[in-house]
Symmetry: C2
Subunit: 522 residues, 2 copies
């Protein structure tokens, strides 16, 4: 295997799973060639009968199953998903081998996949792995190299032909017999179903699985019947209580509240709030919610509004929409029931998908229109390179999500406590580079705010603001002091590359190496 | 040129404009090969600046103009369109030659194109030609063979790569600087902008032209900014008074009222109204509206509702939606202001496009879900073959519209007075076959209803109904009597093929030949 040094100084392979791989070249530097995928031309003559199948088994009977095929799922059901395990068990029963699994993400509920991977039913995962499957990957348990992509990167990879899907399963809270489907209505409603759009457009075969078959036309038709082969009704898509939170809650931890407040003050003091196209994005964690709360209060005080907020929607964001502080929510996933309900009912709460929001290989997505994105991280280094995938001990436990894509914002702010348990956030070198420092603009900790020196424009904006500015070096030293100097070395790994981290343009920004047995903690 | 006899007995060429052509093989018989078009992969790196251009000229400065290019437009502005002539005049000024024009349709307002074609600015039209350009085509004034396609056929041709568009101009009543656009808001609002969808997805370059630039996000985004290269604001898109009718009106002519009533009785007496998935489609002409009016009355009397009605929407259809007689309108174009307003405001009035509604090369569109479609025609022959393109005197004056696509309905009904002026509707041979008899199920005239003998199921449904059933032979004889036996022969033509009529699957169902000079009437 040939390794070359990429633009963030990481050694990455020039070939992954037998396909050429391009090393990360810097933000906006790689130019794609070629054409988008053109799926096989179907004919209405093959769809004069019913698409309805009586069971998942009937779908599998009709689908052209073969060893080595790629099967995809979306992750809008999160840890409440009942579909992935069901389908994979059936494929295992049928003796299909060497499957590449292409979920937008996996969760702890998908632990049964560990056995399927060990037994050779599944050879690889191209998708995010939160939890047990990530642990297996880190120990070298996959036959191939896993590939992690951002939400926009996954759409891009499918569109560009890097990730060919043979058979896509789309769990749909509402669908009709034609295959039109959405995520906003029905007992398993989770809101936006956008992560499945690329699958529906580009997979050879598409199966809609629903627990809520409605008369034609199912509308909104976020997934369109013209792209669907099969529709099957099941009793349940999973555990609704784990699909969407009842409520998302603002943190009550004083450290996190301090960080959130400073992040909001940073945004306020840049003057961005007063600009007519102000917009922002933050997650659904307690600290992100606190940031949104503070920001909303500042906006109310100033009598200004945001042209839009990017969701992950939450009750807090919905409240701001209803109060007119936010004019539109552009939503990619709903994190609580208030978000789902608002998406279904409020015409200013707009459903999006990774094509409109995040995909870099378009004639522009709206990610660069976002003025401020506030994101979490597991590590950040002195050059502002960020890791969200691995922990400091080397375990690959998180997906990229929309992280890379949202760094396209005018100002990307990382919020994190300086030390988590015994792990400092600020390090000399991150274990894994998820996003290059050139895309990260600020770090807000409870010990102060570091602005990326590349962003003189932001430094100019906040001059004289009284914000607690510090340097990364100062934060590094403070963190070292807090852990009493006991900085752990980088985790010990073998040479084996178990996963590649793609930048949103499809180039390889870093790899994850197999944890050495002694460093696995068991 | 090699000519072969196709499945409706017409002699058609095996090559058109240097490309292989497939003769019509019967409904559902031709199987497509190959893959959909994969457009060149763009990169966000090329779209970091503004897409806004100050003028059409600035768009043309940026676009990669070349002789022989294909330029497209949609026809939602109808006879009020101000864009086609404006752009074509500018291309003429710039000396671009040999353009293929690919409008979804042209109207009398586009008469200035006649000069552009004569001067070699435009070599060909692939699209419908209502009026003067059609006349020019019929006299052999084009350098190439024009190609006419249905709405679904046009989407298919662009998707399948038969019609490659270099530069698409999309007139948008509402758009933002990112290129998101819709047709429902703004001073030139015309409703659905669906005819432009394929252009936006597959053209190399896409320019949005709007007279109503709104802040991001313009929503609904029927056209998505991720597919758009340029956005330009102009003072006006055309003449709003001619874009959409103020009101559409039910006919008051007693003959047409009789036909409409019988058509509605035919539908009623089939028992389809009582079926849970009843749905229907009719046009916006006075007789079609009368049909809808009678049908609505029957439905009210029976206390039933339609699962959906397919628009072309009109005030009449909107009233039925609001009364609950129609549960949804699936709308492809709005024919009056009530339709536009309803599409903008009523969530049960759903915007569609030719992919969802009509395209045959999908995994099913909804055309076959329509139970009854009621359509007009210029001629129909003893085998139920229908002509909607040419008049009996040979002039090519009409497009196909959605005609072919809607024949996919369970029951396709042609309504027409038996004689128009001196022209009988029922003929031995239609001048041009637009749709094959196998796709047409009934003809309703003021002298009775002829059911296609192929449809024994329909004949069984209406047995004993008391409907005035007649045979095509009887209608032919009656028409001959009405015109006192003075049936005109087929128009005299040269051998030159001036236009090809494609069936919705891309095969050639008929051709139009150049009218012989003596038969041109001037």
């Amino acid at each position: 295997m040939t390794l070359v040094k990429n633009a963030v100084g990481r050694m990455v392979p020039t070939e992954i799973n037998g396909r050429p791989a391009i090393p990360f070249q810097g933000v906006g530097k790689h130019r794609p060639a070629g054409r988008k995928v053109g799926p096989p031309i179907p004919t209405g003559a093959d769809f004069t009968g019913s698409k309805l199948k009586q069971s998942i088994d009937e779908v599998l009977d009709s689908a052209n199953l073969k060893n080595g095929m790629t099967i995809s799922f979306h992750h809008h059901l999160r840890n409440g998903d009942g579909l992935v395990n069901l389908v994979m068990d059936k494929l295992a029963e049928r003796g299909v081998k060497g499957i590449t699994l292409a979920p937008s993400a996996l969760f702890p509920v998908h632990e049964p996949l560990v056995q399927h991977i060990r037994w050779g039913i599944v050879d690889n995962v191209e998708g995010s792995m939160n939890g047990p499957v990530g642990r297996l990957c880190t120990t070298g348990g996959f036959k191939k190299t896993a590939i992690l992509r951002s939400h926009g990167g996954r759409y891009r990879a499918i569109q560009d032909g890097d990730l060919h899907i043979d058979l896509a399963f789309i769990a749909a809270p509402s669908a009709d017999s034609h295959g039109n489907a959405n995520g906003v209505h029905g007992p398993s409603a989770f809101g936006s179903i956008g992560f499945a759009l690329a699958d529906s457009l580009y997979a050879d075969q598409v199966a809609i699985v629903t627990d809520n078959l409605v008369p034609f036309p199912c509308y909104p038709w976020a997934i369109q019947g013209g792209n669907v082969d099969y529709v099957v009704q099941v009793d349940s898509l999973g555990d609704p209580g784990k699909i969407v939170s009842g409520t998302t809650k603002v943190t009550t931890d004083s450290t996190r509240l301090q960080i959130a407040q400073w992040a909001a003050e940073l945004v306020r003091d840049t003057g961005l709030l007063e600009e007519p196209e102000f917009s922002f994005q933050a997650g659904a964690g307690g600290m992100s919610l606190a940031f949104v709360k503070y920001l909303g209060e500042f906006m109310k005080k100033k009598g200004v509004s945001a042209s839009f907020a990017r969701g992950g929607s939450t009750k807090l964001l919905v409240d701001l929409l209803n109060e007119g502080i936010v004019k539109y929510i552009l939503d990619g996933q709903c994190f609580d029931m208030a978000g789902v309900k608002s998406l279904a009912e409020n015409p200013r709460h707009i459903d999006t998908n990774p094509f409109t929001s995040y995909c870099y290989h378009t004639k522009g997505c709206f990610a660069p229109k976002i003025k401020v994105s506030v994101l979490g991280a597991t590590e950040i280094d002195m050059n502002f390179n960020v890791n969200v995938n691995t922990h400091s001990d080397g375990w690959l436990l998180h997906g990229i999500g929309g992280f890379q894509d949202t760094t396209d914002a005018y100002m990307t702010v990382i919020t994190a406590p300086l030390v988590r348990k015994v792990h400092p956030i600020v390090v000399k070198d991150v274990v894994t580079v998820t996003a290059p420092g050139e895309s990260i603009d600020a770090l807000v900790t409870e010990y102060g705010i570091a602005i990326n020196p590349r962003r003189q424009d932001i430094l100019d904006r906040i001059k004289g603001s009284g914000l607690p500015l510090v340097t990364m070096e100062e934060l590094y030293d403070k963190a070292t002091e807090l852990i009493k100097g006991k900085r752990k070395p980088m985790p010990e790994t073998t040479d084996k590359i178990v996963a590649a981290i793609e930048w949103r343009d499809g180039t390889v920004i870093d790899v994850v190496r197999q944890l050495a047995p002694d460093d696995r903690g068991y």
